[in-house]
């Protein structure tokens, strides 16, 4: 999901995290968020009012809220914006949503029907769990986690009786730091159903 890449054309090589999104909901949220912040001129009603509503609905979808009416509302907004917007910018952003609705409708529906984000990008729908079978209790994840969401004791040699490493769900923000750091891929991500 996230790639670290080297940025060229600078004096010192800098590693920048470039996020490539795959979940259609997250992609749309990013696009529409940027649109509302920068590109939208906010002069014509369908675009100005419609994009605000659409972003609101997409964000709710990312939280797993919604029903069939949300999809039909989004469809309506996208269709009407595509037809009625004053300029190409509005029409373009509407087009991407329309395409997402046409190609990946089932992925969107999964979000509220099953609470499932297939690409594990909608953080409200993902859960991080440490697989205790694989965990070697090295403690790297605890160090990596900035939010004190990992609880556990580093295993030292022969001592018996230890606290298994576990994710404290209330603190976890799904930043993926622990999973990246784990040397044995013990951190697993789940989505959908009662996580």
């Amino acid at each position: 999901m996230s790639i670290v890449k080297e940025v060229e054309n600078t004096d010192t090589p800098v590693a920048v995290a470039e996020v490539v999104l795959e979940c259609p909901v997250q992609k749309s949220i990013k696009e529409w968020g940027e649109f509302l912040e920068e590109k939208m001129c906010a002069k014509c009603h369908p675009c100005m009012l419609g994009s605000y509503e659409a972003l609101d609905m997409l964000k709710r979808l990312a939280e797993g809220e919604g029903s069939d009416s949300i999809i039909s509302h989004l469809d309506r907004i996208a269709t009407d914006m595509l037809m009625g917007s004053r300029c190409k910018k509005g029409k373009d952003v509407a087009k991407t949503l329309k395409e997402a609705l046409n190609e990946s409708r089932d992925e969107l529906v999964e979000h509220y029907e099953k609470g499932l984000c297939r690409h594990m990008e909608c953080t409200a729908l993902t859960t991080y769990i440490i697989n205790t079978d694989k965990c070697t209790m090295c403690g790297d994840c605890l160090i990596a986690c900035k939010y004190a969401a990992i609880a556990g004791e580093k295993r030292t040699g022969y001592a018996l009786g230890y606290m298994p490493y576990r994710v404290r769900q209330k603190r976890c923000v799904k930043c993926d730091a622990c999973r990246e750091v784990c040397p044995v891929d013990a951190v697993e991500v789940f989505s959908g159903g009662a996580g």
């Binding site: 509302l36 939208m40 001129c41 906010a42 002069k43 014509c44 009603h45 369908p46 100005m48 009012l49 419609g50 994009s51 605000y52 509503e53 609101d56 009416s69 509302h73 309506r76 907004i77 269709t79 009407d80 037809m83 009625g84 917007s85 004053r86």
Partner: protein
């Protein structure tokens, strides 16, 4: 908009329209109402709300009608399923952020959003309800702003910008944006002139009259279409009344201007200094009396005064109606036997009547409307919304310039209107005849205007010859202008299609005003334009046509034969005196009507003075008899406005006082002196006016070569105005201050 017609198809209907007409306006003219929220008549469309989208054959996607113009062979469909869907969605989205308040909202019944929601059958919003809890601005007593109702159509911003007052603007972007003033200040802390153009523009309840909520529902109000008589612009107004009280005054035409005085000063109808009954002075005090008693006292005095008719005078303000003016001058000429009848117009305009009589035989009008003008020339007119001098004309000119028209200002001073002028010719004081001659010389010599363009006028060949043999350099030097400036102005004129020239007291009050007006008429004849003489009072043209002047007879008649026959009496021979002499004193009897401009501490101008006024003003304070008169929305009759068009005034409310109109009083006095008038009701006067006082219908212009001269003097200052507020004539520059005091008190 050109005069060429194009054929096109709308919804299957084949129609012809002038080419280049706005599509929404064009469709409306054939009964097809394309729904819209942000369209303003006479202004460029912006296509913001997207409600007016229509399907155009040959275009891939539907496009907004307000940004399209009529073209040959266009085929459009104004409705379809997908269009309806878009319209419903826009209304739906707007409703989600609009207080669903129709139960108590004062706009119910005239609300565009309500109408469109009804037409498109949108009951409630499918989207989440949003409220931004904006603060209401009710800081002044005139305009209330409630941004919670705002649908962000931008019409108020556009009208305020087009007339260059620039008070309202969008703050923020998108859904949470708000229409407000600079730094979100309340209106009375800005330069707002409270003209209320935004009031008329707002389709919903976001901008409303202060106190409107409690005064009745729209369908309970009875609207009367009449004319405001407070200044020379004579704006048409719609007076809404309920239970005999004025509720609000609005503009009957979309996107037309009324100033704050015309819109909000109706509470002066019940002001404390309103004259409510006739009063007679005894022992230095004014005592209330009856009409019968008052008429008896006046007619007794008049019966003895008429033995010396040269010492009797009748003076009215030029804001009285035609019927008033006609009967007053008839009282003077037919009954008393004096030509001392005049209106206050001669205090600031001594040129229009003699000049027009020479050129047309009457005060001719303009056939076209300012909204068609693509070039406006302003000569000696300091119209300004900010000093409230002819504010409507200032707003109209600025709106035209905002829409692309060119403006040439000829004025020695840096008047406010010059800030939007394409060319400001700062000529030397009084040299208008030279400047205009220079323009004509350049136009003819450089062949910038051809003969086809000219209006039909006798003597134009002489004028043209004189222009072609003039010394442009000398004329420019006389006028204090550079040849380059004059050439640029002439080129602007050459490129125009509908030129219009306005002039006012800066020209007409000078001693060479007659020549200047004639010269302006020459120029307009050459370039195929129209001239509009603008007076400071509403009925300047009408009172002159009715003969309320020592210099003219009713209908601009050349001699009094027809009148003498109809009136069954000889007309007086001795020349009459004018307003200035009458007000300076020396008469035995003076009958003054309306707001006569006298300053504080004014001394009584005659032995016996009758003041027929609406409010106790300086003139009435020393009068022997004071009579109540109908005030500005209570008057009924006709006036002739500065376009030369006759406009009807209809009484919107019953007078708030026991009044008698001046025409009635004149008839009563005539009868009491033994003259049979045959006048019972207003229609009788109208009939007589139609028979005897209407100027000839069609006259051809006569032009004559004018020798340029330098003029001096000016009657009433060109920048002052005769606007009145609760009865006293005050300096126009004080009006803004007084209004601010009134609302913060």
């Amino acid at each position: 908009m050109s005069d060429k017609l194009v054929t096109m198809e709308i919804d299957g209907l084949t129609v012809q329209f002038p080419e280049g007409m706005n599509l929404v306006d064009a469709a409306r003219s054939v009964g097809i109402n394309i729904p819209n929220l942000c369209h303003l008549e006479h202004m460029r469309g912006v296509g913001a709300c997207r409600m007016c989208v229509v399907e155009v054959e040959g275009m891939r996607a539907p496009n907004t009608a307000c940004t399209m113009k009529t073209k040959e062979g266009m085929k459009i469909k104004t409705d379809s399923e997908q269009i309806k869907d878009l319209r419903r969605m826009v209304i739906d989205l707007i409703l989600s952020m609009h207080p669903l308040d129709c139960m108590t909202c004062p706009k119910a019944g005239v609300c565009w959003l309500q109408d469109l929601a009804y037409q498109l059958d949108v009951k409630d919003s499918a989207y989440g309800r949003k409220s931004f809890d904006f603060e209401i601005d009710d800081s002044n007593g005139f305009i209330e702003r409630d941004p919670n109702y705002c649908i962000l159509c931008g019409k108020c911003v556009r009208v305020c910008t087009a007339q260059n007052t620039n008070i309202l603007e969008f703050m923020g972007r998108g859904v949470g944006s708000k229409v407000t003033t600079e730094r979100d200040k309340p209106l009375n802390e800005t330069d707002c002139t409270f003209c209320g153009s935004c009031l008329d523009a707002c389709p919903v309840n976001a901008i409303l009259e202060s106190g409107r909520r409690l005064k009745g529902r729209e369908w309970e109000l009875f609207k009367t279409d009449t004319v405001c008589t407070l200044c020379g612009a004579a704006c048409p107004i719609d007076v809404s009344e309920k239970d005999g009280k004025v509720v609000k005054i609005t503009s009957p035409k979309p996107n037309a201007f009324i100033c704050a005085a015309g819109r909000f000063s109706y509470d002066s109808l019940a002001a404390k200094n309103r004259v409510t009954t006739p009063m007679i002075r005894s022992n230095g005090e004014l005592k209330e009396t009856s009409w019968v008693e008052a008429i008896k006292v006046i007619s007794d005095k008049l019966a003895s005064a008429r033995s010396n008719p040269a010492k009797v005078g009748i003076l009215a303000s030029a804001a009285v109606t035609n019927e008033d003016a006609y009967m007053l001058q008839k009282l003077g000429r037919a009954v008393i036997g004096t030509n001392n009848v005049d209106s206050t117009a001669s205090l600031y305009d001594t040129s229009t009547v003699p000049a027009y009589q020479k050129a047309f035989g009457k005060i001719a009008g303009a056939e076209r409307c300012i909204t068609e003008a693509d070039l406006i020339i302003v000569l000696g007119m300091n119209a300004s919304q900010w000093s409230r001098t002819l504010p409507a004309i200032d707003a109209k000119i600025r709106k035209q310039v905002s829409g692309g028209a060119k403006l040439i200002v000829l004025d020695p001073a840096e008047i406010k209107l010059a800030e939007v002028a394409t060319k400001h010719l700062k000529l030397a004081e009084g040299t208008d005849t030279s400047a205009l001659a220079a323009l004509m010389a350049v136009l003819v010599k450089e062949k910038l205007v051809n003969k086809n363009r000219a209006n039909k006028a006798k003597g134009l060949a002489d004028v043209r010859n004189a222009a072609s043999s003039s010394d442009v350099a000398a004329l420019c030097a006389e006028a204090g202008l550079s040849e380059e400036d004059v050439k640029e102005a002439a080129e602007l004129i050459a490129k125009s299609k509908v030129p219009m020239l306005f002039y006012s007291t800066g020209v007409s009050a000078k001693d060479n005003g007659v020549d200047t007006v004639l010269q302006a008429l020459n120029l307009s004849a050459l370039i195929g334009g129209q001239v509009l003489p603008v007076g400071l009072e509403a009925n300047m043209a009408g009172v002159a046509a009715m003969g309320l002047s020592p210099l003219t007879l009713p209908g601009f008649a050349a001699d009094g034969k027809k009148l003498a026959k109809a009136w069954k009496t000889d007309l007086p021979e001795a020349a009459g005196i004018g307003a200035r002499e009458m007000l300076n004193g020396g008469l035995d009897f003076l009958y003054g009507v309306g707001d006569l401009p006298v300053s504080e501490g004014y001394e009584k101008p005659a032995e016996f003075v009758v003041a027929h006024v609406t409010h106790m003003n300086e003139f009435a304070k020393t009068a022997d008899v004071v009579l109540p008169s109908p005030a500005f929305v209570e008057q009924e009759g006709s006036i002739i406005n500065y376009y030369g068009r006759m406009k009807m005034l209809w009484s919107a409310v019953e007078p708030a006082a026991d009044v008698m109109a001046p025409w009635q009083m004149a008839a009563e006095l005539a009868e009491s002196l033994g003259y049979k008038t045959k006048v019972d009701i207003l229609d009788d006067v109208t009939e007589e006016v139609e028979k005897l006082a209407l100027p000839p219908e069609k006259t051809t212009q006569t032009t004559s070569v004018i020798t340029p001269s330098k003029g001096t003097g000016s009657g009433l200052a060109a920048s002052g105005s005769m606007m009145t507020l609760s009865g006293s004539v005050i300096d126009a520059s004080k009006v803004s201050e007084l209004m601010r005091q009134a609302v913060t008190a």
